[in-house]
Amino acid sequence: MLRTALLLILRRLPVAMPILLLVSFLLFAALRVLPIDAAAMSLPPTATLAEIAQKRHDMGLDQPIPAQYVIWLGDALHGHFGQSIALRRDAGALLANGLPTTIELAISAMIVASVLGVGGGLLLFASRGTWGEAAGDLLSTLLMSVPDFMWALLLLLVFGVMVPILPFMGRLDAGLTRPSVTGFLMVDAALTLQPAVLWSVIRHMVLPAVALGLAFAPPIARVLRSSLLDVYHDDYIRQARLRGVGETRILLCHALKNASLPTLTLMGVQFGFLFGGTLLIEVIYGYPGIGNLMVDAVRNADLPVIQAVGMSYCVVVIGISMATDAAHQLLDPRSHAR
């Protein structure tokens, strides 16, 4: 099973690699066309024009864009993403600091979204034909009108300010030292057996993860409901009923398995959007992931960081979509033939 999954993912690499390369070039070229002088920005304001020209030459900015791109690509493949202009630190190191945080947040939020979405979908389906169907339908439309950053602000207002039971800034209480083994703080806290740190990390995670999860649950619920409705038209459901199988058992053991395929595909697509959604959630909750890094870089026109962080978003999104495709093929016996 695992081997097949890996194989399926590997088979998608030849398609994904050119897209990644092209994306990185487009991003690179777009950022170079901007009227931003990276050389002048990395020198003190007293620098003379000659010094700036010298710096431009040192940084390779006087070369044509394709040549600059090749240099960048060579460095990037060796893990060097250049020096942050604003923070004077290696962009790769900044990225390595933030990325695990963002991935942890995205996965937690996806778990929340899946639980709420599947639960909501089953409820919507169970209420078919009653007044609850119309109400649930309307509710899901209204819930979809609340974007993730508004959930974040609402939860912050209610559980952080009005009924202050949860922390809403950063990801660790002051005074606790952060363990560093893998970079994934939650994993590290568990590995180093520090329950106090783990508890603090989880408490800080609740509001951001629930805010993102709430925003992405309604579409999952809707797709699950409609694919369950589709599945119930199939003969094998009637067959099961004739055999005397109970309704709950039909739903959970027969229908849900087949209805989960479209839902899973949607969840893959949603996960890509959700990963982008972490950006604002991080800004609102002061979460030290790549979202905050990106917003700061954008405000400071910090090109190397924008390039590195922008690319890492793309890599994750493309990776997720490859994994979703592979999972779909793995779970749908009909696509094995192809």
Binding site: V23, L138, V146, L153, L157, L279, R299, Y313
Partner: protein, 283 residues
């Protein structure tokens, strides 16, 4: 025929909500008690007039610079609707043209457009619009342009498969046999069939545009500091959320009502115009 969409509760509810927002936007200069940019630094963070310490001349209170919250809400509706209308129109136009070209001609053209969509979609929309705003700078027109450049794929991806389905129908071949040019076939035979989907998408896109504009203004890369926008109000109120939570809730409520209006309208139109779904429901 007799316009089934007119009987949909959702369409009516959405239209009423949007009409209310539109009235606020159009009549903002007449309704607003103050100029939305006027600062009254002696009266900052006032509560609404009905609460203790409120000032009757500021019905919904003031923000951290002493600007009238109600006036900013009303003028913010202008910004939101302007961005929603023009960016949905632009993204719809670009996406629709490319979708019809790709779906109708197929082959290499389809492949190129399909890969372009793939590349675009590999960026999370928020990230891509932020990067675009770095290059474009702030301003309402820049926000609209950024949303068009990001969101044309939403139209292109969905409409392309619809165009492919329609192009395979017999009546389209018949039109070609009758000597219709490609242009005539697409505009007279295919476009009418894809129009219901297009209308739905435009309505949903307007809701998305309102959210994106709010997000960009919230981060400070939106319409610019001189133009009132709901996202800016949220960013400002967030600093003082403990003392005046209403300043945060009101612009969020405005965004919610506006987006809910577009979503209800789009959802209602989709149900009313999609013949397949109507058939399933009546079965």
């Amino acid at each position: 025929m007799n316009a089934p969409w007119l009987r949909s509760g959702r369409v009516i509810a959405g239209a009423v909500l949007l009409l209310a927002v539109a009235v606020c936007a159009v009549a903002a200069p007449a309704l607003a008690p103050h100029d939305p940019g006027d600062q009254d630094l002696l009266n900052i963070l006032l509560p609404p007039s009905w609460m203790n310490g409120g000032d009757p001349s500021y019905p919904l209170g003031t923000d951290s610079l002493g600007r009238c919250v109600e006036s900013r809400l009303l003028f913010g509706a202008r910004t939101a609707l302007e961005v929603a209308f023009f960016s949905a129109l632009g993204a719809g136009l670009v996406g629709t043209i490319l979708a019809h070209v790709a779906g109708y001609f197929g082959g290499a053209v389809d492949w190129v457009i399909g890969r372009a969509v793939d590349i675009w979609m590999s960026f999370p929309p928020v990230v891509l619009s932020l990067i675009l705003m770095v290059g474009l700078g702030t301003g309402t027109d820049k926000v609209i342009l950024a949303i068009i450049l990001v969101d044309w794929t939403r139209f292109c991806r969905v409409l392309r498969s619809e165009v492919i389905t329609v192009t395979r129908r017999d009546y389209v071949s018949a039109a070609r046999l009758l000597g219709y040019s490609h242009w005539q076939t697409v505009t007279r035979e295919i476009l009418p069939a894809t129009r219901p989907l297009l209308i739905t998408l435009v309505s949903l896109e307007m809701g998305i545009a309102v959210v994106v504009e709010a997000i960009l203004s919230f981060v400070g890369l939106g319409v610019g500091a001189n133009q009132p926008a709901w996202g800016q109000m949220i960013a400002d109120a967030r600093q003082n959320v403990a003392t005046s939570p209403l300043g945060l809730v009101l612009p969020m409520l405005a965004i919610f009502l506006c987006v809910a209006g577009f979503n209800l309208l789009g959802d209602g139109l989709r149900r009313a115009l999609d013949s397949r779904q109507t058939a399933v429901r009546s079965a």
